[in-house]
């Protein structure tokens, strides 16, 4: 089963390498990985999706906590969450499918962000399934190039998942 992990790490050199190295060394496969700053100084947030049984993920969590720079690990898989991925898709518009492409952009609530006489770049945000669905539809219409960010995730409801009692971190 695909798990969605949120990992809060100290923003220090080499941390990404440590996390990636741990996944490799313990033979886990990263499906997607995103990392970025948070609203807290010195704290970065990663969202990693990884295949594994519940047991595997519990082991992984324990290994992650061994890393000195790892502050918190949360598995959002079985919680109510919002997970979003973003894709940019460049498609060929020099065919008779041009109108169809625009229709699909409408249907999927995607956005056209660049237009030339021969091509379009479409931006689409959504769950993994939605984006996969869109790509499937676009394939026969002529994809030139494509890029995806990988998922970012957040728990629903009014609480913050970040739990830093007296840890010395401060809001920016």
């Amino acid at each position: 089963m695909l798990h969605t992990l949120v990992i809060l790490v100290e923003d220090k050199p080499g941390v990404l390498n440590r996390i990636a190295s741990l996944f490799r060394r313990r033979t886990y496969n990263i499906e997607s990985l995103t990392v970025g700053h948070t609203d807290i100084s010195g704290l970065s947030r990663m969202t990693i999706t990884v295949e594994g049984t519940q047991d595997h993920i519990e082991r992984l969590t324990a290994y992650l906590y061994k890393l000195v720079n790892v502050i918190q690990v949360e598995d959002l898989t079985n919680r109510k969450m919002v997970s979003r991925d973003l894709a940019l898709i460049k498609v060929n518009t020099q065919t008779e499918k041009r109108t169809e492409i625009f229709q699909m952009v409408e249907v999927f609530r995607a956005k056209v962000v660049d237009v030339t006489t021969e091509s379009l770049i479409i931006e689409i945000t959504g769950t993994d399934e939605k984006i996969n669905g869109f790509i499937e539809v676009m394939k026969p219409l002529g994809i030139i190039e494509m890029v995806r960010t990988g998922a970012v995730a957040m728990e629903r409801g009014s609480d913050s998942l970040i739990n830093l009692p007296e840890s010395g971190f401060e809001k920016k």
Binding site: E58, V68, S167, G168
Partner: protein
């Protein structure tokens, strides 16, 4: 006070209470060496290879309980340390490795002797650092020592660029405030309910066995352990690294478990209804096949590292934290129990095996490693420190050199590093100069780090070397005999004349080929004021018994054959 980065390195070592370090100079760490003369309170030992220096610091740490410190220069100096770092990592030894790095401006440009040491050692250190700014040297070294010794100990590497060593801090002062690391959690305490749960399981168990690991020694929990075991009369099986945590002669001590554990030990584990794993990690060498491992036993695991609990074996109660404190809480909740019946079952398992033991057979004129080690045990004092290399002689030492006292046995368990024996003995001797120190090595592993005999000579210390010389890479030969049709590919080994080798180093060399000669040689070595190397010419194709083949069930052992085939005398 104005201090250079190099001076700060030494200042920090002094503040950490370090009195001996092991290091090798080179271009990138020259500033550190240049500053050394200002710090005569630290004794610097020059090994003949950085690996040797690393193992010396490791042996030093294992017997002293202090953090072992080893240094190397950039590039090859650092890569030569890698085996020592991995060895310490597998066995959770508190160590700080200080390597030098090329000037920060050159990093990334493939400069002369540039190696990405923090990258290389990332998976084999507890943590590591690259320091490029002189201001960061002190805080980083303080963190390094703190991380190395707290929680589950381990090696930490600090790589310091040459320019950071050369730069100055104008008014430097040592900071001795409490270190707080936001993401580091060395201390756990189990819930009271889990402690009670564990006690209940122990009280209702009929056939409990303790699996005593390195954690008992690392956590200095020897007396709490003994009190617990004695109150409830639980038989104790030892891991290789656990030896010394509980006296060998104690009636509850069954001996070593696992691949070369005695049959009664492994059988007791397989038949147990409760396993109490204390500071051990269910390594495959002690469990055999996990599918058939102690199937009817409930399991309690006391462990300092949360990631070890439920890793290899699912447990019923995991108590994560400091073993000394946990045992002090558990013991009062445990009832007194004689366990006469269970202990008799185990005692009965012993009887028949002991007779077949090689040391109980009449003298055939052939010398066996078991005789040598048995003699050694008989002749030296209980507090003698023994280090081993890796191979058959290591297992024979574990079987025959009954370890009575804590921190007197030093061996590479997790990594099984050949070449560890001699340098670790040098480190042990420097940590405990008043103790008698012996290393038991194979002819193969000894030659991996034999150059350190020269370090012994330079340090003018007394370390006795017992070479169990069987003319083979014995342990591998044994596997070839058992599992590869006696195809002895690349295991026969020619050696130099070890007596002359010792003499070339200004040490004494002796040779022994019979039991009588062995005894005389050991005596002579003990009485001689300097270091002695003894070449024990032992039976060439002897094997370590019993043996659980890798992946087999723990009680499926290969036993010593009743008819013993010996090498013809004229060989």
């Amino acid at each position: 006070m104005k201090k250079s980065g190099a001076q700060i390195v030494w200042e920090c070592l002094v503040k950490e209470g370090i009195t001996t370090i092991f290091g090798y100079p080179g271009g990138a760490n020259l500033p550190i060496y240049d500053a050394m003369r200002d710090y005569p309170q630290i004794h610097h030992v020059l090994p003949r290879h950085e690996q040797g220096g690393g193992h010396m610091a490791d042996g030093y740490a294992r017997v002293s309980g202090k953090v072992g410190v080893a240094m190397g220069t950039s590039g090859p100096g650092a890569t030569n340390l890698v085996t020592a770092i991995a060895t310490a990592h597998m066995d959770s030894i508190p160590m700080v490795f200080i390597t030098a790095q090329v000037t920060s401006k050159l990093i990334g440009y493939d400069a002369f002797q540039e190696t990405d040491v923090t990258g290389i050692t990332l998976p084999i250190t507890k943590h590591n650092y690259l320091v490029t700014d002189v201001e960061d040297i002190m805080p980083t070294l303080r963190e390094a020592f703190y991380i190395a010794k707290s929680g589950r100990p381990g090696p930490v590497l600090v790589d310091i660029t040459k320019d950071a060593q050369q730069a100055f801090v104008s008014d430097w002062e040592y900071d001795d405030t409490q270190i707080v690391l936001k993401g580091y959690r060395p201390d756990f305490t189990p819930a009271a309910s889990s402690i009670q749960q564990a006690a209940d399981l122990i009280n209702s168990a009929k056939r409990p066995v303790i699996l005593a690991g390195h954690g008992v020694l690392m956590g200095n929990a020897m007396s709490e352990f003994k009190e617990f075991a004695e109150k409830n009369n639980v038989p104790v099986a030892m891991t290789l690294l656990g030896m010394g945590g509980f006296p060998a002669h104690h009636p509850l001590n069954l001996g070593m478990m696992g691949m070369h554990g005695e049959s009664w030990v492994n059988t007791a584990i397989q038949e147990a209804d409760l396993l109490l794993a204390f500071g051990m990690r269910f390594d495959d060498r002690v469990t055999g096949s996990l599918n058939s491992y102690a199937r009817n036993a409930k399991k309690i695991h006391i462990e300092i590292d949360p990631s070890e609990v439920n890793k290899n074996v699912r447990v019923d109660v995991g108590l994560i934290g400091n073993i000394k404190e946990i045992l002090a809480q558990v013991t009062p909740l445990v009832e007194k129990n004689e366990r006469a019946e269970w202990r008799k079952v185990i005692a009965d398992l012993k009887g028949e095996t002991a007779v077949r033991d090689i040391v109980n057979l009449p003298d055939s004129g052939h010398l066996y490693a078991a005789h040598v080690i048995n003699e050694l045990r008989r002749l030296v004092s209980r507090d003698t420190i023994i280090t081993t290399d890796v191979g058959q002689h290591q297992m024979w030492t574990a079987q025959y050199f009954k370890i009575e006292e804590a921190h007197t046995m030093v061996t590479s368990g997790g990594l099984g590093t050949m070449g560890f024996g001699l340098p670790s003995a040098i480190g042990a001797k420097l940590a405990k100069p008043d103790r008698e120190v012996w290393t038991v090595v194979g002819d193969g592993g000894f030659q991996m780090t034999a150059a350190e005999l020269s370090t012994i000579a330079q340090e003018k210390i007394k370390v006795n070397v017992a070479i169990i010389n069987n003319g083979f890479l014995g342990m591998v030969r044994q596997w070839q005999e058992f599992f590869y049709d006696k195809n002895y590919a690349s295991t026969p080994m020619i050696s130099p004349d070890f007596v002359k080798l010792a003499e070339a180093h200004g040490l004494k060399g002796l040779r022994a080929s019979t039991r009588a000669e062995a005894q005389v040689a050991i005596q002579e070595a003990r009485e001689y004021p300097g270091s002695v190397v003894i070449d024990f010419r032992v039976e060439q194709e002897d094997s370590v018994y019993p043996m659980v083949p890798a992946g087999a069930a723990l009680n499926e052992m290969i036993r010593r054959p009743s008819v013993i085939v010996e090498t013809p005398q004229d060989e």
